[in-house]
Symmetry: C2
Subunit: 100 residues, 2 copies
DNA sequence: ACCTCACATAACATTGCGCTTATATACGTA
DNA sequence: TACGTATATAAGCGCAATGTTATGTGAGGT
């Protein structure tokens, strides 16, 4: 699975947003997604690991998950060339509005 | 389907990159994806339409597809809060390198 | 040694996506 | 009107992703 498919899943985006605040243990993340069972969350975490979006560090019997700095950048790199599209569009829109 | 799933599909990302260069007819886009049949491309275009990533304009019996300026911005809006992660990381890395 | 807690993996069912072939729609032209 | 061209939709199939329950693994505690 690639990064795009990884972030296409709403629950995984939720996990990412939680890890953006701070590191959390697997158990905390499981509690944060009450609609899912523990194995389901564990699987999502595995996918986030394999796509390089998060990293794990053992702490006794816990596992601490953290967001990896360069994971989401791959998506940002892809979107960068297209950014001018809405920039130009917004610029033209503003210009049009101020000309009235 | 939402924007994230729409962009998760490689063929659809290819279509987006083609439309970023210039508008194209459905037929041109079909020719640009030789591994797919015409209905398959038509379906992808439908999804890109429904998610607001492209727009269509009829031209006789042809349909001209164009990239919509604000479609991909929804992804950019999502990624923006996380951007500081790799920026901070890069800054720290550079600082570390120049200190040697 | 035994049990419990935290987490991962296995096995399996269900669902949804993407593909194909076949068909419909709609415009253009003779 | 009749026919070809351009595109969309329908029907059906295979596969991969997501969920579940059941089980494995390994670290702590008594």
């Amino acid at each position: 699975m690639d990064v795009f498919e990884a972030v296409a899943e709403p629950n995984r985006r939720h996990l990412i947003s939680l890890l953006a605040e701070r590191e959390r243990t697997a158990g905390e993340l499981v509690d944060s997604l009450p609609t899912l069972t523990q194995p389901a969350v564990s699987r999502h975490l595995r996918i986030l690991r394999e796509t390089g979006l998060v990293e794990v560090r053992p702490d006794g019997q816990r596992r601490i998950y953290a967001l990896k700095p360069d994971g989401l950048q791959r998506i940002d790199d892809w979107i960068t060339p297209y950014r001018r599209f809405w920039r130009d569009h917004l610029a033209a829109l503003e210009k049009h509005l101020e000309s009235e």
